[in-house]
Subunit: 467 residues, 3 copies
Amino acid sequence: MDLHLDPDRLFPVDPQTRAVARGLYERVADLPIISPHGHVAPSLLRDDEPFSDPADLFITHDHYVTRMLHAAGVDLGDLGVGTATGTADPREVWRLFCANWHLYAGTASGYWLTHELVTLFGIGVEPSAETADVLYDDIATRLQQDDFRPRALFDRFGIEVLATTDDPMDDLAVHAALAADPSFRGRVLPTFRPDAYLDPASPAFRDNIERLTGAAGVAMDDFAGYLSALEERRAHFIRHGAVSADHGVREPLTLDLPADEASTLYRGAVGGTLDAAQTRAFTAHMLFQMARMSVADGLVMTVHAGVARNHSTATFEAFGADTGHDIPLRTEYTENLRPLLNAFGLKKDFHLVLFGVDETIYSREVAPLAGFYPSVFIGAPWWFLDAPDAVQRFRAAVTETAGFYRGSGFIDDTRAFLSIPARHDMARRSDAAFLARLVGEGRISLSRAQRIAVDLVDAVPRKAFKL
Amino acid sequence: MDLHLDPDRLFPVDPQTRAVARGLYERVADLPIISPHGHVAPSLLRDDEPFSDPADLFITHDHYVTRMLHAAGVDLGDLGVGTATGTADPREVWRLFCANWHLYAGTASGYWLTHELVTLFGIGVEPSAETADVLYDDIATRLQQDDFRPRALFDRFGIEVLATTDDPMDDLAVHAALAADPSFRGRVLPTFRPDAYLDPASPAFRDNIERLTGAAGVAMDDFAGYLSALEERRAHFIRHGAVSADHGVREPLTLDLPADEASTLYRGAVGGTLDAAQTRAFTAHMLFQMARMSVADGLVMTVHAGVARNHSTATFEAFGADTGHDIPLRTEYTENLRPLLNAFGLKKDFHLVLFGVDETIYSREVAPLAGFYPSVFIGAPWWFLDAPDAVQRFRAAVTETAGFYRGSGFIDDTRAFLSIPARHDMARRSDAAFLARLVGEGRISLSRAQRIAVDLVDAVPRKAFKL
Amino acid sequence: MDLHLDPDRLFPVDPQTRAVARGLYERVADLPIISPHGHVAPSLLRDDEPFSDPADLFITHDHYVTRMLHAAGVDLGDLGVGTATGTADPREVWRLFCANWHLYAGTASGYWLTHELVTLFGIGVEPSAETADVLYDDIATRLQQDDFRPRALFDRFGIEVLATTDDPMDDLAVHAALAADPSFRGRVLPTFRPDAYLDPASPAFRDNIERLTGAAGVAMDDFAGYLSALEERRAHFIRHGAVSADHGVREPLTLDLPADEASTLYRGAVGGTLDAAQTRAFTAHMLFQMARMSVADGLVMTVHAGVARNHSTATFEAFGADTGHDIPLRTEYTENLRPLLNAFGLKKDFHLVLFGVDETIYSREVAPLAGFYPSVFIGAPWWFLDAPDAVQRFRAAVTETAGFYRGSGFIDDTRAFLSIPARHDMARRSDAAFLARLVGEGRISLSRAQRIAVDLVDAVPRKAFKL
């Protein structure tokens, strides 16, 4: 079957509304991409090496893609996932993927992949067992061309800002090198991601604390020293251009504890003696501390809450983390954030962006919070929800309460560098579709919709992320 | 930019379905407004004084409006909110509002305000920094005209019944005066709202109990006396035309406690000695008692559940309650109401209307309960959810399980007198849109849809609220 | 008013999308019905007796239908429900139903009933007080015709496979008789439904254990004997063609307990000495054991979770179970199933189908789980949710994460034999509508949609249920 990219894709089917959506989209289609949160490795752009092969590029490292094959019965080892990287023949991996192309119909991954195959590689036939080898060779050939190297693609994609996600102890030398390189014009910003330094339940917690406090020259069990060491690392990130600190938490509980109680819990955390309730309390207090630090140093605080990580223990042990079995949980922000918001919610220039994978929070909690607190911003649909229908549900759920100006702008949150334009294009088309419906239903004027469409990809993310 | 009210607003974009929706809407557009729950002050209609100024009318008292400005960084004090009333220059407040008009695009508030500005004041340009003064003067001039006084508007709006919300110790003299006034033909009914007499956690609880029991001539710590005092106040309300008692609860827990246990808890409540669990139990028992009284005296029992009131302590302390930071919570009715429904759910003529701001309860709990218990009625979309898209989600969520005849009819629940027609018109258009889709999809006949459209604004609220 | 069945019903209103939907539907409209889960009594097909009367056929035994009349104030006794069966005059029951026909407008039940009245009985006028007697006589006459007997209808409906739901101690003689009958060509398969043998809170638990262990010749309080007795009953079911075991649980908690702890709990369960927490733990362990057995014997494990059964105690006592007041509860799968999935989720050929009546689990939990675990399948919209709008919400919620090939196929789950074609036709139309929208929005090609439409009623259920 032909592989085809409809120029009117994601627009409403009603012809008149479609025409409005198309007009709105055309105003933003070519605007620069602002990507203030994601997981591309900065070394990709420093090294600017050719991508190795189609499997490596599209499949092996994208757990959105591999999980679907796994669900269909394919062993992750046969895809070279995680600890199995390099052990699978890329052509065989590609064949497995192509033979199962029908599984991706209607999915977000299928949508990105189609976009990439058509727009980047000019592919015109669907992947299948029959076409796998031709496609592989075709793509592999192109990957050797200079205009398919990361920096060339960065320019072709029109990326203005790309934020990475980085360990607090990262020296950020790669970011510094990119910033100092006159031949590279993009802004590649680090993001401070301290989860494994805040949560005693993290396997690396003790090692991390040891490195953090050791580098700062403070005693390992000194809570004040630990806090100032974190502050210093944040300052290091800010010096390298960071605009935000990102927090991935199972539940977004926050607690304002007295200093001595927090200090005692910290010593227990370092000593490994906390029970589950104490661990929870300490982690909740550290989320509170992160807000305090954001108020002080200006880093935008983003919270990604509500995921049970590494659901399948056997898979985690065999293939590592980020292998497709992080599963969403019910999420609650209203009560959990109350201590944090009571302390910092009205502070000038504090920005708190709330993401979730439980759609029920959109209309019930996030939009009402962002419709009152000047500090709270509505995180764009995240992870499983950054897909066309989910975006329509998101906009419908938050707009009537909070309008268009309390959001974060679109977040691609991706490791898959090549999917960045596909994702932002999806968001722009989906927002155009939503706005066109409101125009068609007489709820906003066309001229207002035109301004909003542009603001959603420009002023809105710049404001939320202080860019 | 022009300010324009599309005559086909909120109808589906598909031309054929739109025509059906328009036809349905035309049958109900001019039917009288029944408003069985809301927060308009009855003195407004007794006094019939001109509204003071545009800011007072549209902004200062409407926490839907002020919260959006607050989220954009405006200080509530600069809007004259709450304890700051009278301290802000109304023209400056109006300018702040107009300069931020774009924030309301796509919101429910923006929709009401546009409706009011166009239909009542004939405004034809969008509020903006540039147009603010002209609009202010234009509106202020009209407000001095006799036909913009509350009673003239009441008539122009076609309001047949307007229920207010009143403190149990209110003497209802205002209602009596209105009823006795031959020059006023509308029905203005009080509603019994006893939350602060039932929940020991309410700051006013002890004072309220003192006044309640004192007036009834019973000992303050006599539970039976307290119950009979409440019953007498309900009777007082019924004598003044009340048809319902309204209950705003954080969680809708109900408990049937033995009399001696309830009595003991009550004494603790009066004495201020209850812990959190006891307070919760007592409040849950009093919700149960309210159902018992409704069975006895016939007042429709409405429950508005699931809101964390006054989320921002600093804002509450500075500006008081109802200042835009009541935030929804997850809500559960199935288990919480079981004791109440087991005792009273099958009682003849008992009516229990369930409202919520957690949309997940619609299809999961409220529609199934109302599809079985003759006493249970589905509360219309409330608060953050009384907006066009939310209404479509609501109808889609409840209709397949419970049809069109188990609802409350639309509830405006507003303090903003001028927004009443806008809100009811929104509901009528939205229901017409929903019905038109069902006609278009061959799920109901046009003639059936025509009957339902009329019933939804007439027979349905009259039945639910015993009007 | 006329009763009319629109040939384009449930298709999108946009003319072009409607045409695509119609084309997709036409490819599947007449394909055989696979019904792998439901509640039709197999004796209906063995006996092949004429249906007795219209009330018995359409009303008395269908708690979807009777609950709506009950909500409108009709006494269940007047409908001959439950323990009142046979006490009500069927013509009077039918009149009550017809006089209240408007209550069903827009409901799933109204949709099924219209389909049945038009397609099976050629009824052309709406039920009403005026038409009740004519319709009754018309239907009653037809029911005496040979082509309205169950087997004739089974053939006319095009049912290829019909699964029943059966008690573990059922001898399955009826199924054996049907299988041995050369004059009956359909496949009627039993389903193992052991809830009342696993949950100590079930009123029949002790009696059931006594019969189960007695028949197996093991001591009643011997846990290993109890497990092997269950295994033997499963084997008995498999010998009679069963392909699945069904589990109806309030919450889908699973626990992997040490053998001695499980054994101790079991003795307590038999002895009636467990407290609530122990009962919960034992039931959770037995759900875990059921998965273990499914891995061993290959029965597909289906879980129907999240319903508070018999919500109205008075109704339960007067009329028995399944009388319209089973009410959904919030449901959680991610954490509850973790022990089960960690033990068995990656086992080859293990199939676990997850159903729920809390829509929030679709995008949050079920699709992500099914998008990773090869064992997990997405249960079709169930119970209150097997209706046109709910199906659209379901498809929109799961497809972007899990595609079209991780589902169970449609499940009618019905006791109402005559509604089976109406329900499957609804599902086929709804899926055609969903696919047509995706085609219209340029997200899948028409040829892909054509394959998927067929797979959804053929390959997908055959795979999920191993047919």
